[in-house]
Amino acid sequence: MKNRFKTIFLNGLLAVFVTTAVVLLQSCANGSDAEKTKDTHKEESMEEEGHEQEEIVRFSAEELKEFGIETAVAGPGKLQVHIDLTGEIVIDPDRLAHIFPRFPGIVKNVRKKIGDKVKKGEVLAIIESNESLVPYEVKSLINGTVIEMHLTLGEVVNDARHAFLIADLSHVWANLNVYQKDLPYVKIGRKATISAGYGIKEAVGVISYISPVVDEMTRTATARVVLPNPDGRWRPGLFVNATVVKEEMEVDIIVPKTALENFENQTVVFIKTDEGFKPQPVSVGRSNTYSVEIIAGLQAGQEYVSKGGFTIKAELQKSELGEGHGH
């Protein structure tokens, strides 16, 4: 009897020992979970808070300033959409004169050289005719500038080749290349701003002509802008860029492109409400490089975030940030 008691007692003790040991070691292995659970709970509570507020973020005035968030009031505005074209300055063929020597002969006198301005009827050169041996005057047919000269003193010239090319550069053409995709928008009467860069002053002209056929080689049509050129800055041969207004319209709501954010696969504008900032899905209409028309979702007079909306978007997405960054 006594022996049996003893055995039971001893067995019990051993069992206690073994179980304590195992429990101890396991409990510390499990320890990690407990802690981690705690941590993630914290995160979760943060997240839940976010959901309760129905995607609203509040900022203090200082924070707005610190993070560079700016607001503006939605309203109507003018939206200009334009196309950029390339082209070159060419001489207006109507203002060009080829001066031919009437008779073959020897050049006796050259009065003008390249670049000289000439008046209509002004003598350019004197040539002695081979047939009559009488000198005759070669005269300019128009007011203009000598841009080509093909005779030298003493040279024998004939009537096969022009001796002078006189161009009236007071007006030049800007021939613009219009690609297929832009053809619908380039129309006669549209304003075009011509620029050549490098300090050459821009000029504004009107499209006066569009070629009826598209060039087979370049697959572009030509649009023409006649440019007055009193100071001669539009030198023929210059490469120019032209900005043609594609559309110009008054729209009810216009916002800068910086106000648009992509949030949860929607285009949104953040609007300021009494509770805070909240995303407002919008439909956008036409746009140019800087501005965009809002068709729906934003009313005139509403205050919206014009700059720094990314910070608000990031704050709303915060709960998702933690995962998946690349290590």
Binding site: A29, D33, Q180, F239, T311, G324
Partner: protein, 1035 residues
């Protein structure tokens, strides 16, 4: 045993010489040992980085990651391959089984990398292995301070990359120096597309022309007379002017120079990382990476010396300012444990003096400490264990225990000498005394070593953290065993003398303190021996207290090691631009600068040169530089400070903040595991399907009772401008897809057209459109492509250009794309949760063919660990049992001694509870150590009680007398162990938070187990006594 002791005493000189050799060897080993702060827990990992400028994640995966992964499949010892394909960067992590030699692994990877290179298309990057280093390898970070304010960030970066980096890389033990911040110098050819049109040149022609006008060639040699002349032709461009004057085309004899088509200037390369400082400026910085296995402290020392040299040759006004150094951490943690070691040694020595009452035996015992420690050093050298917080911590823990064997031996010698007959030769007395206790000592120490066995089976981070400790404890104990058996008898013979004056019999030569203790102890022991019920009740009460308290203890994994450096980590929106993330970071930096304790903030955003970090640009790591601790006003500890930082930084809109520490962070990155309990991985091919199905799984799992924090990875969210070439459109113009893409790449992304050499420095020539012609959707639409025949067509007529949302990154494991859904489990057992979850997914989620769900996460690791422990713990117990049994030859004795364990556990539990600490891995290591120590005490007592019984002393008298006589050794071993740990318990130094729970458990447990040994065991000995009849028969 007897033979050994006799041999020892006959060959005193030999053993002394051997002993001194061990000491010398230990010292030598110590000098050779690498010194680190913590054990390195990095996995056996080889990283392969491939940088491909400008490629989106999908392309990276297809062209780069996949070939690398395929090449790595089937390597020996391979554990798994995990890859991340990010914008412009592919990282393939090749994990090998723990314990694989890193050089071997690298060699294997390198061989296969050749294969991979062949498979990666030309121009898509060259895969490179990461530095030969580990998570502990980032030993020093610095930035360049330009006091003159005259140097541009590009110039500073050039100084960093071409001067400092090269100098530092020559330091032995430095494997890599990685630069970040500022701008890498490039020669930018900024092309005006209008000019291209004007002169009818394409950007690709221009690139070709630059390439063919920037060469040097050799043309062998010519002979003249007896001499050889080497022929070389130089045509390299050296500067901006040379590049500008490259002729692109000549028409009618009129050359068109590059300068007519483009601006050539010095610019910065495209960057994916920025380094900022104090919220006011950008800086250039670098990080020094230590070679795997090299000695941190010596490398740091050499680097510092080199930096001084470099500082003297840098242009005036520029200097290197280190802002993070592992040195301070290494020093601090080594100081923590060495302090504890020294204080422990002193305390132990005091105890010895007090109890021994005389100087000579104390000397013998004290020598066992340096011997055991140096013995352990030899072992550490042999096993390649570095000096660090844990390995030295193990020695600190063992201090009290390493003297135990010798104490018992010397105490016995001391007692025998006092009691011996004057005529007996001293050496005979010593031999007799030694033989008597040698066997129990052997068994007791063996048991201590055996109880540490389960620690050797720990895996992963815990294994790497605690194995060094297990090694050093076991080694030190082995050393102490060697000392006790082989050297203690010799030294006893040399040092110990017979007392000159024999005191009266009743006092038996005990000193004052022991006599005082005996005066208190005697009535107690008499009481308990007479009323054994009381003894049992006492034990039961104690066990009940322990059982009651145990569930109240909290639990944690491992307390976080305080590294003394605080990092504030910011995670921003995934689509953020580098400019914006820099702006946000500087705002946070300015907030931090308002904290009075903060001296400065240096932040790394994104990544610099690849090798150490692969962070995307939405992640920033802020090193908070603190003033010296005595200047702190509002904070006292690192934890206080972290709170202050949290308060000051507050909520940063759009930013997740997280406070961490440098090493902790790096190691977390390398381990790359899922932090939640459960990780459901969905493998499959199509990213959209993965996303969709993962969302479904989230919904399903959320409905399973017990689910918490269920979340799927966010794999998409990066805006892309997708240019899809219209095949019909290009066909009309006779263009190839490639013709169009080349223009897109060169115009928008830029293309390298050779290099400019400035001495050995080389800088790339990057050809790219002017910003206004490429930086908006509208501008890109207008980029002209020249078709054969000279027609120029705008891009929008050839391709569809749209904005889409693409993947942020693509993660793959073992060559398959996957998405992780993580979850925690609350108020429920994980096993049943997993079963129910699996069923729920099977029933409710319809997975397309080829899609596969696996369940993993922490719970799997725990299950594995539990399984292992379920085998190892019983085996350990069995070994202990066998050892005890073979020592006592009695089942009853064995059980009596095992009784110590539950009571020791009680003390440990109470200790943790009182000090408000949690159950954790270090505290269970404490419990393990406690097993061994508690058993040792019991053994000492029971052995002697058996002895008395055999000598014919009646049971009750034997119980009392035995207990009284063994009071001194039992108390001494308990006290030395406990006091040896006191410094660890009280220390507040770096790393003390890991050692404290351990010390608490051992000290607490020692108190209760000593009570048991001294009061309960003698009382209940009667029921567990050896059967004298059996003994006699055996004898």
């Amino acid at each position: 045993m007897q033979k050994i002791i006799q041999f020892v005493l006959r060959n005193k000189l030999l053993l002394l010489v051997l002993g001194i050799l061990v000491l010398a060897g230990g010292w030598y080993s110590y000098r050779q040992l690498p010194i680190d702060a913590f054990p390195d827990v990095s996995p056996a990992l080889v990283q392969v980085f491939t940088e491909t400028e400008g490629l989106a994640p999908e392309e990276i995966e297809k062209y780069v990651t996949f070939p690398v992964e395929v090449a790595m499949n089937g390597l020996p010892n391979l554990e798994k391959i995990r890859s991340v394909s990010n914008f412009g960067l592919s990282v393939v992590n090749i994990y090998f089984n723990d314990g694989t030699d890193i050089y071997f692994a690298r060699q294997l990877v390198n061989e296969r990398l050749q294969e991979a290179r062949e498979q990666i298309p030309e121009g898509f990057g060259d895969p490179q292995m990461g530095p030969i280093s580990t998570g502990m390898g980032l030993i020093l970070f610095y930035y360049l301070d330009d006091t003159t304010g005259q140097y541009s960030l590009t110039e500073l970066r050039t100084i960093q990359d071409w001067l400092i980096k090269f100098q530092l890389q020559t330091v032995p033990g430095v494997t890599e120096v990685l630069g970040i911040g500022g701008w890498e110098k490039q020669f930018h050819v900024v092309v005006d597309p209008d000019a291209l049109l004007r002169y009818d040149i394409t950007i690709n022609e221009l690139i070709e022309r630059i390439k063919s006008n920037n060469l040097n060639v050799g043309a062998q040699f010519i002979e003249r007379n007896a001499e050889e002349f080497i022929v070389r032709s130089v045509g390299l461009a050296h500067n901006i002017e040379d590049i500008e004057n490259i002729i692109i085309k000549a028409k009618d004899g009129i050359p068109i120079f590059l300068k007519q088509l483009a601006d050539v200037k010095i610019g910065g390369a495209v960057r994916r990382g920025v380094q900022t400082r104090n919220g006011i400026e950008e800086v250039v910085s670098g990080m020094v990476v230590k070679l795997y296995g090299s000695n941190s402290s010596t490398v740091i020392e050499r680097v510092e010396k080199k930096m001084e040299e470099i500082n003297s040759i840098l242009p005036p006004g520029i200097k290197i300012v280190p802002y993070y150094q592992q040195k301070s951490l290494v020093e601090a943690s080594v100081k923590t444990v060495t302090d504890a070691l020294l204080q422990g040694i002193i305390l132990v020595a005091i105890i010895l003096l007090v109890f021994m009452g005389s100087f000579r035996p104390s000397v013998v015992v004290s020598i066992s400490i340096p011997f055991s420690i140096l013995f352990a050093m030899i072992g550490m050298y042999y096993f390649g264990i570095s000096v660090n917080l844990m390995s030295f911590g193990g020695l600190a823990i063992a201090i009290g225990m390493m003297v135990d064997g010798t104490i018992v031996m010397v105490e016995n010698v001391d007692r025998m000498l006092r009691q011996s007959k004057p005529g007996e030769p001293r050496i005979h007395v010593i031999a007799r005394a030694c033989v008597e206790v040698a066997r129990p000592i052997l068994f007791a120490i063996s048991i201590i070593i055996v109880v540490f066995l389960p620690l050797f089976t720990l895996q992963g981070v815990e294994g790497k953290t605690f194995k060094p400790l297990a090694y050093t404890v076991s080694l030190a104990m082995l050393g102490s065993l060697v000392f006790a058996i082989f050297l203690a008898p010799v030294l006893s013979d040399i040092f110990m003398r017979r007392p000159k004056k024999v005191k009266s019999e009743s006092q038996s030569g005990e000193n004052f303190i022991v006599r005082l203790l005996l005066k208190f102890y005697k009535p107690l022991i008499l009481f308990f021996v007479r009323r054994r019920g009381a003894a049992i009740s006492l034990a039961i009460v104690l066990v009940l207290i322990g059982t009651a308290i145990f569930p109240r203890l909290g639990s944690e994994f491992t307390p976080t090691l305080q590294e003394g450096t605080v990092i504030l980590r910011l995670t921003m929106a995934p689509s953020i631009s580098l400019k914006e993330s820099t702006r946000i970071t500087q705002i946070v930096e300015r907030r931090l600068m308002k904290i009075p304790e903060v001296n400065g903030v240096v932040t790394r955003i994104g990544r610099g040169e690849v090798g150490a970090h692969t962070d995307p640009i939405n992640s920033a790591e802020m090193y908070v530089l603190l003033k010296p601790k005595d200047e702190w006003r509002s904070a006292e500890t690192q934890a206080d400070l972290e709170k202050i930082i949290r308060d000051h930084v507050g909520n940063v809109p759009g930013v997740l903040t997280n406070i961490t520490q440098p090493i902790q962070m790096t190691v977390d990155e390398l381990l790359e595991g899922v932090r939640a309990e459960l990780a459901i991985k969905l493998f499959g091919d199509n990213l959209d399907v993965l996303k969709e199905k993962a969302d479904e799984i989230v919904r399903v799992i959320n409905k399973v009772p017990g689910a918490a924090d269920v979340q799927a990875d966010q794999i998409s969210g990066t805006p892309q401008l997708l240019i899809k070439v219209d095949r019909h459109a290009i066909a009309r113009y006779g263009l190839n897809v490639e013709d169009v893409q080349q223009v897109i790449r060169a115009a928008v992304g830029g293309e390298t057209a050779g290099q400019i050499f400035e001495g050995v420095r080389r800088f790339e020539i990057l050809v790219r459109y002017k910003p206004e012609y490429r930086n908006s959707l509208e501008a890109i639409r207008e980029i002209l492509v020249r078709a054969p025949g000279g027609i120029k067509i705008p891009l929008s007529q050839l391709a569809e250009i749209k904005e889409v949302i693409g993947p942020r990154q693509i993660t793959r494991e073992n060559s398959q794309r996957f998405i992780t859904i993580q979850s925690n489990v609350v108020d429920r057992d994980i096993g049943s949760f997993v079963a129910e979850g699996q069923k729920a997914i099977e029933e409710n989620v319809d997975l397309p063919p080829g899609y596969l769900v696996t369940w993993g996460g922490q719970f799997r690791l725990q299950q594995e660990a539990n399984k292992r422990l379920a085998i190892v713990v019983p085996i350990t117990l069995l070994i202990i049992f066998l050892l005890l049994f073979s020592s006592f030859n009695s089942l009853k004795n064995t059980f009596l001694i095992l009784l110590n364990i539950p009571l020791a556990l009680v003390g440990g539990v109470v200790g943790l509870w009182i000090t408000g600490q949690n159950l954790s891995v270090p505290s269970s290591v404490g419990f393990i150590a406690l097993f061994g120590i508690a058993l040792e005490n019991g053994m000492v007592l029971v052995t002697y009680l058996n002895q008395l019984l055999k000598d014919g002393v009646p049971m009750d008298k034997a119980s009392v007398e035995g207990a009284m006589l063994r009071l001194r050794p039992v108390l001494m071993t308990a006290l030395t162990t406990a006091l040896g740990l006191i410094p660890l318990l009280l220390s507040t130094g770096t790393g003390s938070e890991v050692q404290r729970p351990l010390a608490t458990v051992v000290i607490g447990g020692l108190i209760t187990s000593t009570i048991l040994t001294l009061l309960v065991i003698p009382a209940i000995y009667k029921w567990f006594a050896i059967d004298l009849n059996v003994e006699r028969r055996l004898d």
